[in-house]
């Protein structure tokens, strides 16, 4: 049934396509990039099937087709070919949706990305899209989510209604992949609380508004939780593995940002009901910018945030009582040179993680990103312990067109 509905949506899109006037007359805009990547690991892996270096290449195309001033098709295919990990070689439609703008509301149907939230370190309330863990460990890359989204802009803010007819599983790195959790995760053995599995019909609502310097939102989600519980099990060869378990959840969240000159105050938090339990998680902090640092045109921004989980260390959440401190320097030069450094510190003494990212444009169309992530003093009891031997340096050079 759920799949039937999803297929129906796809058919509706295809029918729209077929009904289009002569393709040659349509206005469209195409852009994209190709991006080779090199990863170097500083320590020998915990699994002999892993390596200390990896080459990979990714590409993305974004096509916008303007049917008329109020109707647009957006298609954004993404693909990566990985030199080592078959699981990381993957294709995704980041977006493939039809958009229609009416006088009183806007309609979007298809695969789409939606972001909810305010803070920089942890994105607690951002629950619509599945995270693409194959692309980055910071959780900012997302898979396209099938949806019907109705947006109603009013003078009292924007009301968004989401029907999410199909669930997408999180894909974890394969046994050759790095960085990864020490025990392999069996992507194809995923279990669900709901008997309808990925065809469970999910729904969400969001209201967002601003008054003066204050931006705020109130959201609710009902459906399959995007983050799986990882339960120990055995594979066909009686080898220990982790099996993803996707539970149902309901979650109500609030988010606030106050913008006062160079100072930004940010907060987001949720209360979640899942598997007979309910609890609160929240994060908040400040971002402050110094402009014209040292007589140069450059800016220096400081971010300080605290992350909290009511369940404490029992929740299998690495961020239950942690602090994030980040510095961002932007040169404001022609090449958009910028450096971002940050650390997440477990305030219960369970180690810390550091990252430094540097980026710069070369010429008109090349963009270089260098990133390093270090996991330090993480004890075996911490959920991040598996990453402790996965300190790495990553270089990506994108060619935009």
């Amino acid at each position: 049934m759920g799949r039937g509905i999803f297929t129906g949506l796809v058919c509706a899109c295809a029918a729209t396509f077929a009904a289009l006037p002569a393709v040659a007359e349509m206005e469209y805009d195409a852009s994209g990039y190709i991006e080779p990547e090199l990863q170097l690991y500083f320590e020998d892996p915990s699994d002999s099937r892993q390596e200390n270096a990896n080459l990979s290449i990714a590409g993305q195309l974004e096509l916008e087709i303007f049917l008329n001033p109020d109707q647009t098709l957006v298609v954004t295919p993404f693909a990566r070919i990985d030199g080592r990990d078959d699981e990381r070689t993957h294709f995704d439609l980041r977006e493939a949706y039809y958009e229609a703008v009416f006088d009183r509301f806007e309609l979007r149907v298809g695969l789409k990305k939606v972001f909810w939230g305010r803070t920089e370190a942890a994105h607690l309330i951002d629950v619509i899209n599945q995270t693409d863990t194959l692309e980055s460990v910071d959780g900012e890359e997302k898979l396209g989510q099938p949806m019907v989204n109705v947006t109603v802009p009013t003078e009292f803010g924007i009301f968004d209604f989401y029907w999410l007819p199909y669930f997408r599983e999180r894909q974890f790195p394969g046994v050759e992949g790095r960085p990864r959790i020490d025990l392999p995760i069996a992507n194809d053995m995923a279990l669900y609380e709901s008997s309808r599995e990925e065809e469970h019909q999910d729904f969400a609502f969001r209201w967002s508004h601003y008054v003066g310097a204050w931006d705020f939102g109130l959201s609710h989600f009902y459906g399959t939780g995007r983050d799986p519980l990882l339960t120990p099990g055995l594979d066909g060869n009686n080898q220990p593995i982790l099996i993803p378990y996707y539970a149902q959840m309901q979650q109500t969240s609030v988010d606030v940002q106050a913008t006062y000159g160079p100072m930004l105050y940010k907060f987001e938090g949720f209360h979640r009901w899942q598997l007979g339990e309910n609890w609160t998680q929240a994060t908040g902090g400040i971002e402050y910018s110094f402009y014209g640092v040292g007589g140069t045109p450059g800016d220096l921004g400081i971010v300080a945030e605290y992350i909290w989980d009511e369940r404490g260390e029992t929740g299998m959440n690495p961020f239950q009582n942690d602090a994030f401190v980040g510095l961002r320097w932007a040169a404001n030069d022609i090449q958009s040179t910028a450096v971002l450094g940050g650390g997440i510190f477990d305030l219960d003494g369970n180690g810390y993680a550091l990252s430094v990212e540097a980026e710069r444009r070369f010429g008109e169309n090349f963009f270089l990103q260098i990133e390093t992530r270090l996991f330090i003093d993480v004890p075996p009891s911490d959920p991040f312990f598996s990453y402790a031997d996965d300190d790495f340096l990553q270089v990506r050079l994108a060619r935009y067109f």
């Binding site: 805009d29 647009t72 939230g117 030069d333 090449q335 169309n365 935009y400």
Partner: protein
């Protein structure tokens, strides 16, 4: 003195027809400077809304060049005490293509600004207190790029003289203006406004240490709807670094039917 100012304002309102009568300016240098600014502003009132494309060529001292391209939509704010609404969509460099910036401008306070990043579908309210910072790495600061409103400055008329090249056949009012916005990067600016159409022809910017920092020249003025002049080429030269930026406007369209609905957070999300 106040009556004199009001007279001048009424007069300029009365002559808002394509052919402008010569106006009487007060003698006092401060009043005269203000009257010139009011006249210049009044002649551009009523454009309603506009859209245009912009291209910038950034040049460093080694002669290397870099290109920026964007599209801008503007809605005039009828309230003289508040700024215009604008939506900018970036096209070049390609790595920021699709990024959109919504601004609700204010005269003396920080603007309200939201940035939309399509790659992660994220809308964020951003700090706008860095009006003195460089716009897209160019020699234009954000505050140079925003609309000129009378209430942003105090004024002092200095002299009348031949306009700077290439307009030396015209006569210019030379006026000093002092930014009232506390985070401005400038102590003062000197503006050359021609006495025929009251268009700015050149601006000199003095930094916080009162050094001559930059000179901006306005070229290629063209008339729209028989009423609104727009410079199509703006050249900014930084005298301290030797860098320069050439900014070119094209495809100006006026009164295209844009409304407040086109300058909301919802419209920012779908700006393309």
């Amino acid at each position: 003195m106040i009556r004199h100012l009001i007279c001048s304002a009424v007069l300029s309102a009365a002559v808002l027809s394509p052919a402008f009568a010569q106006i009487d300016l007060p003698e006092d240098p401060a009043e005269r400077g203000l009257a010139i600014a009011i006249e210049s502003d009044a002649r551009d009132q009523g454009f309603g809304d506009s859209s245009a494309e912009m291209s910038m060529i950034l040049r460093n001292t080694q002669g290397e060049e870099s290109v920026r391209e964007l599209r801008q939509r503007t809605l005039e704010n009828a309230d003289p005490e508040d700024g215009d609404l604008s939506l900018i969509i970036f096209d070049r460099p390609r790595d920021v293509a699709g990024t959109a910036l919504l601004t609700h401008a204010h005269l003396l306070e920080d603007d309200d600004q939201w940035l939309y990043l399509p790659a992660i579908a994220r809308e964020r309210r951003i700090s706008s207190s860095n009006k003195s910072g460089p716009f897209l790495g160019s020699e234009f600061a954000y505050e140079d790029f925003s609309s000129t409103e009378v209430g942003k400055y105090d004024y002092m008329w200095l002299r009348d003289e031949a306009c700077p090249e290439p307009y030396s056949e015209l006569t210019c009012h030379v006026t000093e203006r002092f930014p009232l916005y506390e985070n401005s990067g400038y102590t003062r600016q000197i503006v050359w406004t021609d006495t025929d159409e009251y268009l700015p022809r050149q601006v000199e910017y003095y930094n916080r240490r009162d050094d001559l920092l930059k000179t901006l020249t306005f070229l290629d003025y063209r008339l729209y709807l028989d009423h609104f002049w727009r410079a199509h080429e703006l050249n900014m030269v930084n005298h301290l670094t030797g860098k320069s930026t050439s900014l070119t406007w094209s495809n100006f369209e006026f009164q295209t039917g844009l409304a407040e609905d086109d300058f909301t957070r919802a419209s920012l999300r779908r700006a393309r």
